[in-house]
Each structure stands twice: as C-alpha cells, then as structure tokens.
C-alpha cells in the first residue's frame, strides 16, 4: 500500500485500439503541486480524468489515502467529492448564476443549510475577488472570471486534491494572469494539486515537480530548474525547444 496522498501504479488506459496511457506510476504527496507538460495527445487530460474516475482504467491501480479507488464496483460519488477538478472549458452550468453554480453541489450532495452554504460561498467569492459578480450568469462573465468561478465551485466541496486541466488554454493572453494568480493563492494555502498546462513560465515558477508526458508515459520528471535547464531525454529537449521559442 503506497504511502503518498495519491498514488498511481501501472495505470493503463486504451480507447479502442489506441493506448493512451501506457503504464503510469506517480506519487503525489500532501501539499505538493505537480505540473504535467507534454505535447498535444500525450495523455495529460486522460490521466486526470482517470484519477477522478471519469474514465475507468484498464490495468493498474489508483490509491487515495491508502484506499484503492480504482476497484471496479466502488461507489464513486464520495470519492469524486474528495477530488476537485476544473476543465479547460464548458465548465459552468450556463442556466445558473455564478452563486447557484457554486451552491448546487453543497445543497444537493452535502445537504448544507441555505445559510451555511451562502455564507461559505460568499466567503469564497470575496477571497477570489469576485464578490461583485456573484449574481451574474456565466455568459456575462469574462473567460478568466468564469474559470475562477469554476475553481470556487470545486473548492466549495472542500476537496482534498485539486486537478486542473489546462484551465488557461482557452483564455485571451491578458486574462491568463488572473487565473494563474488564483493557483498561486491555493498553493500558498497548501492545497495538493495536479495541473496539466502549456504555460511553461508558470509551471517553472510554481511547480514542486514537473512531469513530462510522451506517448502515454511519464518520460521524465524532476524539479523545474533541472527539467527546464538540463532535460535528460532528447524528446524532452525537442519539445521544450519548440514551445519555448
């Protein structure tokens, strides 16, 4: 039984004949921030989706606090509650205001009282500088604001780990900053995080560890300085050269 907060052991996943994850081993310790980088199609999104069980894995196991959560037939809702996830896009429910988006799950799942959840939601909105946008609908918010609401919505369930899948990829360059600052904030608070990103500068700045994915494997990992200045594998070097142009 692995000791880390979250552990992956030999995780494999195929879609039809296309093997997308070809054996992933990874330990994420409490309070750690890990950035997944790699070319388009290398399996970053799939890995995140497998961790919170949106996709069932074919082989291997995924351990959360020493429990194998990839066991077939497990009740997934309580596990998913403990793992927050924010996607690149299509995230908020467009027919609900920002506040309703945030309150839905606490209301229906945690069965919190109206007062308790409103108080908590308002606290979160203030903390991320969105107090004045609480009653707007997603379409009335900028992309950056929408992503921050999505983060708040996940945080409202008080998850133990947060997964982020290229949450700045669909944003205008000028709006990227405000979303990244939210992540800095979370890191300072000690949240355990796993983040797929194309923002190399940001990854270098905040990550505790960088994992370079290629062809469904973690080809190389290490601390940011080492990865960006002295990558070991030729494939890593080629990738970094192309994107750091």
């Amino acid at each position: 039984m692995p000791e880390a907060k979250l552990s992956l052991r030999g995780v494999q996943k195929s879609f039809a004949d296309n093997q997308v994850l070809a054996g992933i081993d990874l330990d994420v310790h409490a309070g750690e921030m890990i950035c997944l980088i790699g070319a388009s199609g290398s399996g970053k999104s799939t890995l995140l989706r497998c961790i919170n069980q949106l996709e069932a894995i074919d082989e291997g196991s995924i351990w959360l606090d020493g429990v194998d959560i990839s066991e077939p037939g497990m009740d997934l809702a309580p596990i998913r509650r403990r793992i927050g996830i924010v996607f690149q896009s299509y995230n908020l429910f467009p027919h609900m205001s920002a506040l309703e988006n945030v309150q839905l799950a606490p209301r229906r799942v945690l069965k919190q009282s109206a007062d308790a959840r409103t108080e908590k939601a308002e606290a979160l909105f203030s903390r991320f500088g969105l107090a004045q946008h609480m009653h707007k609908f997603p379409d009335q918010l900028s992309g950056g604001q929408q992503q921050r609401v999505a983060v708040i919505r996940a945080l409202a369930m008080e998850p133990e780990i947060m997964l982020f899948d290229e949450i700045t990829a669909a944003l205008d360059p000028e709006l990227v900053g405000e979303v990244l600052s939210v992540l800095r904030h979370l890191r300072a608070e000690g949240m355990t995080m796993l983040l797929a990103t194309h923002e190399m500068g940001f990854a270098r700045e905040v990550a505790d560890r960088i994992c370079f994915m290629d062809g469904g494997r973690i080809l190389e990992q290490g601390n940011p300085e080492q990865m960006f200045t002295a990558p070991q594998k030729p494939r890593t070097r080629a990738f970094l050269k192309a994107v750091l142009r």
């Binding site: 809702a77 309580p78 896009s89 908020l92 839905l104 799950a105 229906r108 799942v109 369930m157």
Partner: protein, 269 residues
C-alpha cells in the same frame, strides 16, 4: 451623416423605386392574366364566392374553436408523455430494459403510421372495447390518438435536446458528486428543454393543423364543418375559408417558431 451613410441612403432610394416598379408590374400581370383562363368564372364561383365566404365564415370560426380546445388540452398531455418517453428511452439500469425497448417501439410505431390511420384505429378501436359513455367519446380517443402520435415526435426532440447537452456538463456535475438523478434534473434537463423549445414550437404548429383530422371520426370541427357546407352548397369556398382561418393562426405561430429557431442557431454558431 458621413460619406458612407450618404452613399447608402442614395442607394436605398434607388432600390426602393426599382422594387416598387417591379412589384407593381408582377402584380398587374397576375391580376390581368388569371381571369382570362376559360374556366375562371366557374372556378371563381366554386372557390371564391364572396357571399358563401361571408355566410360560412362565422360558423367555421366557431367550429375552429373546437380545434383550439382540443389543441389546448392535448398540449400538456403531449409534453408530459413526451418527456416520460424520452426519459424511458434514456434509462440505463438493466431492470429498465423493457422500458427502453417500449420507448423505442413506441416512437417507431407512432412516427411511422400516418396520423389519420392512428386516429381511425384508436378513435374507433378502443371505444369498441366496451367503454360506457361518456368514456368512449371520439373527442377523448381522437385526442388520445393525437397525443400518442405527437408525444412520439416530442420525445425524439427532447431526447435530441438531452443528448445535445455537452458531455462535459454531465461530467462537471458528476465530478461535483451529484447523483445521476440530480444531474438530469438540475443540470441536463433545464438546458435540454430550453434548447428544444423552437423545435417543439414547430411540432405544435403541425399539431394545430392535424387536429383537423379528428373530423374523420365524428367531431364537427372546422374541416368537417367546411365539408358539410361544401356538400350543402356544392361549393368549395368553405375550404378556402378554413384555409384562411388556419393561416391567421399558423402564420404568426410558424414565424415565431422560425424566429426562435434562428435565435437559437445564432446563439450556437
């Protein structure tokens, strides 16, 4: 007024005069040419008899109220049953397999048979099972036939709406720990229903027109009333009156449905 606006205003004036002249020419041609056909007087007498029009209009309008009534009570039934069937077809639990099969067969059958046949078969068949009056009324069973047919269409429309809600919306809800049921109720259905309002409006316009087919099993609604006048007066003008009455309702309704469809399409593209 800037340079561009001045130019455009001038263009507009030119267009309008060309358009006015050409419209007038075309209209004049129609008005002059058609009455030259040899049978025109007979056709005019049979189809465009002003006195018959005036005489039958009030009664036909009254008969149309029966269409409106049948329409009014069919609509909620259709929407309710359509939603039920759509959900049945989407059911995933294995024990609900018969429900799923039933939904599929239901939709196939009632979309596949011409509505007039369904009206005959249900409108005369079910009452024959021995129901006492008033439970064997053709109004009831004709309505049932319409409800069965149209709820099949509405179910398909709703199902397409449910499926059109992007998988990432379901995913987002499930990732928050919501149950399948809550996901459907709070996240998927509200979006799905909003999206299919335009398509369903189209269905309702079609329904409004098909209510007239109930006349074949007895009710004296507008089409039947026109038929009675036709045989009484040996004149088809009452059908024209009926067409005009339908247009008064369906043209605004289809226009509105189109407007909704366009708005919906624009919002998505």
């Amino acid at each position: 007024m800037n340079r561009r606006q001045a130019y455009e205003a001038q263009q507009r004036r030119r267009s309008l005069s060309i358009a006015g002249i050409s419209t007038a020419l075309v209209l004049a041609a129609v008005v002059v040419l058609v009455p030259l056909a040899p049978g025109w007087p007979a056709v005019r007498a049979s189809f465009f008899d002003a006195s018959v029009f005036a005489e039958t209009f009030p009664t036909l309008l009254q008969a149309f109220m029966i269409d409106v009534m049948i329409f009014a009570w069919s609509v909620p039934l259709i929407l309710g049953l359509g939603l039920a069937i759509a959900l049945a077809r989407g059911a995933r639990a294995p024990a609900l397999f018969p429900l799923r099969i039933f939904g599929a067969v239901y939709v196939d059958v009632f979309r596949g048979v011409p509505v007039i046949l369904t009206i005959y078969l249900i409108g005369f068949g079910i009452p024959g099972l021995g129901l006492p009056r008033p439970w064997n009324s053709p109004y009831i069973w004709g309505t049932v036939a319409l409800v069965l047919t149209y709820s099949a269409y509405v179910a398909e429309v709703l199902r397409s709406g449910i499926e059109s809600v992007h998988a990432s919306q379901r995913n987002a809800a499930i990732c928050l720990g919501l149950s399948e049921r809550d996901t459907m109720r709070y996240v998927v259905l509200p979006q799905a229903i909003r999206r299919v309002v335009p398509a369903n409006m189209n269905m309702l316009v079609a329904l409004q027109k098909d209510v007239a087919l109930l006349s074949f099993i007895g009710p004296v609604e507008i089409l039947r009333q026109a038929g009675i006048y036709k045989s009484l007066l040996a004149n088809f003008t009452p059908y024209l009156v009926a067409a005009v009455i339908f247009l008064m309702v369906t043209v605004p309704a289809t226009r509105y449905a189109d407007y909704l469809l366009n708005r919906d399409r624009d919002a998505r593209s």
